[in-house]
């Protein structure tokens, strides 16, 4: 076996392999999947000297710990967190050398939810439909990391970026999601539609890679029942029977029968992926383009 590999020492709450996902297969029932915060994943890849489609690790709240069988360059970014190599503090958001056999510790986030770990050369588990992403809805791609999981690494394509740090805005104290009316806004009363963009919500701890769930006022329906299954987009604000809006993230089902009241402007979704449970949330209307 090649010595270019990572060995998982502590998988954390949920750490998955992610890349840009597998769009283009929704008609077969395959979710797009991929990193929930694509700009953060792209940045750690760039800093590590990887192409934009290299696979990285996505952690959830409490990081992970890894050992490398060979000396590699790693970059930890996304949600800010302490980083240590061999027990000594190391840089977050910048290339770090991880000597062979030393432990990389990615700590619990100080803000946000998901940190990203890029390794120079990328993680090269076997792709499925052109992507190495773990899709938690359909089970495609590698299983979430477990203690002892071995992750093969690719050969470096380019030198790591020559930077000390790359600043990025931290996760905001309040999540503001711009929305346009969705295909089934007419399934809600005028009051329900108004409530969506005027009332205060919070991010629910039941949120996951499939969707950002919310706590707050239930949206009043004008029609009961379910729709015949219809295609769902990333960022769809779907309203299940409990009336609390849920924003579809990367592992969302490709079709569904609960009405979609609105759709979140795609550039706002990375912030949604970094909004910790309890974060205040507002939906604000945007005009038609």
């Amino acid at each position: 076996m090649s010595d270019r590999a990572l060995v998982v020492v502590r998988p954390g709450l949920l750490t998955t392999v992610q890349d840009i996902g597998r769009p283009g297969y929704a008609h077969l029932g395959v979710p797009r999947s991929g990193a929930l915060d694509p700009p953060a994943a792209a940045l750690v890849n760039r800093l590590a000297g990887n192409g934009p489609d290299a696979a990285v690790l996505e952690t959830t709240l409490d990081g992970c710990a890894l050992r490398s069988r060979s000396t590699v360059t790693v970059v930890v970014g996304g949600a800010p967190c302490p980083v240590a190599v061999g027990g000594r503090p190391a840089a977050w958001g910048a290339p770090v050398v991880l000597p062979a056999g030393e432990l990389l510790q990615v700590g619990a986030v100080s803000a946000g939810v998901r940190s990203y770990v890029a390794v120079r050369g990328g993680i090269t588990v076997e792709p499925v439909l052109g992507s190495r992403a773990t899709d938690l809805l359909s089970g495609l791609g590698p299983a979430p990391l477990a203690e002892g999981t071995v992750l093969p690494l690719g050969l470096p394509a380019a030198p790591p970026a020559r930077v000390d740090t790359a600043p990025r805005p931290g996760p905001p104290a309040e999540l503001v999601l711009r929305v346009t009316p969705g295909p089934r806004a007419d399934w809600f009363t005028a009051r329900g539609r108004r409530d969506l963009t005027t009332r205060a919500y919070r991010v629910s701890p039941a949120s996951n890679r499939i969707g950002l769930r919310t706590e707050g006022p239930a949206l009043e329906r004008a029609r009961e029942g379910e729709l015949p299954s219809e295609g769902m987009v990333l960022g769809a604000v779907q309203v299940p029977p409990d009336g609390r809006p849920m924003v579809f993230l990367a592992d969302h089902p490709t079709t569904g029968g609960y009405p979609v009241i609105a759709v979140v402007h795609p550039p706002d979704l990375p912030a949604a992926a970094q909004a910790a449970p309890g974060t205040p949330l507002r939906f604000v209307p945007t005009g038609r383009r």
Partner: protein, 205 residues
Amino acid sequence: MRALPAGREALLIEADSAEEAGALHAALLRRRVQGTLTVREIVPAARTVLLDGLPDPARWASELSSLEGESPEPPARPPVEIPVRYDGPDLAAVAAHWAVSEREVVRIHAGTEFTVAFCGFAPGFGYLTGLPARYAVPRRATPRTAVPPGAVALAGPYTGVYPRTSPGGWQLIGTTDAVLWDHTRDPAALLSPGTRVRFAPVEGP
């Protein structure tokens, strides 16, 4: 047919019937092949077709009429044949719903040519139409926690085949050894929207 907004990069087109949705789906696929439609995903469903990753949804919303009334092309390929042992635990319940014998259920089901209307629920799970409306059946009151792969099942107007073990509330009428989904195969999905399907009865086990 009407266009419904679905964000800045998508359009949901709602048809007046399942048949119209099928014809619309075929018309959109033709436009993509011709190069007159650039879009990341064309996702058919029960009564709708979703265009996702569409650079200019407003333009297509205003050009819907150009998509109406196209007749579907004659099928290019013979139907996919799926061998089935009609041994499902809900065969008797389906026979009761249809008010026919179990043998007659098999004759009717295996005598029908199906079309994959759309996929969803799990990779490779197709919603197959073709049975007359009078043979629609309800879902089971209590879904099973684990339906085995290859289970051939009915719910509402649809027939489906479970690609892998999953929870499910459909009425199970049979079992197939056909592999519905294999991501190491090209194509991974045995069934994709528009595919015609026939079920061929085989003796167990």
